[in-house]
């Protein structure tokens, strides 16, 4: 390797810690050990590199740039988590839900429980996903938010649910009763919605436990500590069964899904 070749290769050398092990520099570095001129040139070159890097390092990014970048990324991720529904499917869902509401009211007559179930389902069926007050993947953040807003929040969830990412939550009022919605992301990518309300809000209705299919929705109710828990998802029934089967170890009252 002649002197010019060695210089050309060593021009790309940054520092010992990063480039010393790169075989492309080995021969040139070895040559430097026995060539005083090359060594002198290399030291000068290296000093210039250091000086220029030092000068350029004084270009400082705005103090809030990192935070701005992260906020933008989180905003993008939050938007991505909000599910979108094609308009035709939203109309179909509304028709199906509306049909169910009429069907149920004709058979059993209007009561608070059915009203609550229909309205809760309408809320989670909203095109573009339900409106959320807080968008976060963190369940504990949703629980803190709901507590702060005096919304009912059932915290003794099974581990399988606690470890699940959320899309966010919402605190709302249904017929003067505080209520909450928490949206979990199921492993398959769909959502599992948990609506919680004081049991007194739905009167003394005889609420059937177990899963029910209502159109494209699978719904399940539980009564815990004076609260009514309504679970609703469009995920395949099999996925829901698997999840609640795991949870049934910690929730003995949970019937094995049929």
């Amino acid at each position: 390797m002649n002197l010019d070749d060695a210089k050309e290769i060593l021009s790309a050398y940054r520092s010992d810690d990063r480039d010393r092990e790169d075989p492309i520099f080995r021969e040139a570095l070895e040559q430097m050990a026995s060539d005083g001129d090359l060594k002198k040139w290399f030291e000068e070159q290296h000093a210039m590199d250091r000086a220029i890097r030092q000068k350029l390092a004084s270009i400082e990014a705005p103090a809030d740039l990192r935070a701005r970048v992260m906020a933008q990324i989180r905003g993008h991720e939050a938007r991505g988590r909000r599910f979108t529904l094609p308009p035709w499917l939203a109309i179909a869902a509304c028709l199906v839900l509306g049909g169910f509401a009429v069907f149920y009211s004709r058979i059993t007559g209007p009561n608070r429980f059915q009203e609550f179930r229909s309205e809760a389902l309408a809320m989670v069926s909203k095109q573009g996903g339900p409106l959320l007050d807080l968008e976060t993947p963190n369940l504990s953040e949703t629980q803190t938010f709901l507590r702060e807003h005096q919304a009912p929040c059932y915290e003794a969830l099974p581990a399988a649910l606690k470890s699940m990412e959320t899309a966010g939550c919402r605190a709302f009022v249904w017929k003067e009763h505080p209520a909450s919605l928490t949206c979990f992301r199921l492993p398959g990518g769909q959502f599992l919605h948990l609506v919680v309300i004081d049991q007194a809000a739905v009167g003394g209705a005889n609420i059937a436990v177990g899963m029910k299919s209502m159109g494209e929705w699978h719904v399940m109710f539980q009564q815990k500590d004076g609260m009514l828990l309504m679970w609703a998802t469009r995920a395949p029934m099999e996925e829901l069964k698997r999840m609640f089967l795991t949870a049934s170890c910690e929730w003995p009252d949970l019937k094995k899904p049929s």
């Binding site: 050309e8 021009s11 400082e60």
Partner: protein, 180 residues
């Protein structure tokens, strides 16, 4: 295939060098910050397509450069109205980052290097990319990177010597050499 990138760590590690690179390209603080944000946002949107995590650094610099060039093309197809010279002077504001004379000197010298060498030098000094990463970013052979680095550095050395020589001959009185 990487599906779950640790974006927070990537941002923390690379937002400063990306901003410096963007600033060297645009010479405008706002544009540099926008370019940096836009580049990370593109990464967030396309992270599922990232196949080799080790190439994220050069991917980010490639993307930033592409976005900058895209912006330039867009500006040239929608040219802005020229300001009248007498008003133009009033609107020229020296960016805060360039008030640091050291950076200003280095950037000015870099700007005077032949265009064919400049980008390689900027990626070497501002982005701290290796010759392989520079080759990947600019999509040129490794040998070309090395020869451009070598020639570019030579030009830069001469330019910096010209810039800094007067200071050595006539040091500023503020440096302590008060006339006696």
């Amino acid at each position: 295939m990487a599906t779950n990138l640790d974006l927070e760590s990537i941002v923390s590690e690379l937002y400063s060098p990306l901003y410096r690179f963007a600033f060297a390209l645009s010479r405008n603080e706002t544009q540099a910050a926008d370019l940096t944000q836009e580049t990370f946002l593109i990464l967030a949107k396309q992270q599922a397509q990232v196949r080799d995590v080790t190439k994220i650094k050069s991917w980010l610099f490639t993307t930033l450069r592409r976005e900058f060039l895209r912006g330039l093309r867009s500006q040239s197809s929608h040219p802005e109205v020229e300001l009248q010279p007498e008003h133009q002077d009033e609107l020229v504001v020296e960016p805060a980052v360039l008030r640091a004379t050291d950076a200003s000197t280095a950037l000015e010298a870099l700007a005077q290097v032949d265009e064919s060498y400049r980008m390689v030098l900027e990626l070497f000094y501002l982005a701290d990319l290796s010759y392989k990463e520079i080759a990947a970013t600019l999509e040129i052979p490794i040998g070309t990177v090395m020869s451009r680095l070598s020639r570019g550095k030579e030009q830069l050395r001469v330019l910096l010597a010209k810039t800094e020589a007067p200071a050595k001959i006539a040091p500023s009185p503020r440096a302590g050499n008060l006339p006696t």
